[in-house]
Symmetry: none
DNA sequence: CAGATTTTCCCACATTTACCCACAATACCC
DNA sequence: GGGTATTGTGGGTAAATGTGGGAAAATCTG
């Protein structure tokens, strides 16, 4: 279960230090093997422990491949998925193509999202967050499951 | 069951001393492990005992992730949820991103709210409370459940 | 095949964070 | 009213984390 916001600086080589509080969990569940791919809805990256990703990739591959929407998802998600390993300092080297997609420069934000992480440029994240905060709940139709959610 | 209003001063490091009368209950139910996240409706923080939060996170994660309203809730709530532990003095270190969101500087208010707490800047709390008091009850339609409530 | 360039891996330092201890203030009790 | 216990506050130190650089290996190119 990952959660929380983490402001992180990329170094000159494009490396990102994983906050220490996640490291034990990551080495435990996948020995430091992670997979990064793009989020097709927003300009951010998704970061999965390898076993989690393999389940997801299996599901995506099982989609009917003559369906155009399915082909699109397959090409985008599987096509961009890249294996990453933590180095001895707990850092990940983010490949240039993924950094460019998510517009990551120096200041980035690592967002815990349950079984995965999201990686945003700090600027993009703050803009997106502010949009979310301003949206009135009534504006979008809520799924039934949410109507009964009490925090 | 938490209740009551507690004015507290943050120290220079952003730490908040939990009032002594809650400590036993907190160590009892979760051994001092708490989770703080943001309230999406107001500029304040929500503070849950870890087991309470995990139930909520499980429900939120189960929402369909291709629904935009659900994505929004997931990113905001899980994204900001941060594990906090009481130190040996019964204090919590509130992380900078959460302090900024709720505009917490020095004088804050800890509000007991049943299974959770809310943390407000004192200024925000007083303003919000006054707004609530001035609102005429008839202005907003009351949910059915409230019609039969007798105090 | 040799040279040059890029990439990966690892080590060392500087900074920050977290933990702990000590004092001050308040409340309570005798 | 004084003494004691409990709570609130601040700061210091050791350990762990973040950051940068350097050397070796692998790859690409001429």
């Amino acid at each position: 279960m990952f959660r929380g916001v983490n402001p992180i600086n990329l170094d000159a080589k494009g490396r990102m230090a994983i906050p220490a509080r996640y490291r034990e969990q990551i080495t435990g569940c996948c020995d430091g093997s992670l997979v990064a791919t793009i989020d097709t809805e927003a300009r951010c990256l998704l970061l999965y422990p390898l076993p989690e990703w393999e389940e997801i990739q299996a599901k995506i591959e099982a989609l009917p491949s003559f369906n155009p929407a399915a082909r699109r998802i397959q090409r985008l998600l599987i096509g961009h998925a890249t294996d990453l390993d933590m180095d001895s300092n707990g850092r990940l080297l983010l490949p240039a193509p993924l950094r460019e997609y998510a517009m990551l420069e120096k200041r980035v934000v690592l967002l815990g999202q349950g079984r995965k992480f999201e990686i945003w440029s700090e600027e993009q994240w703050l803009d997106t967050r502010d949009e979310y905060l301003q949206e009135v709940d009534g504006g979008n139709e809520l799924p039934d499951e949410m109507q009964s959610l009490s925090l």
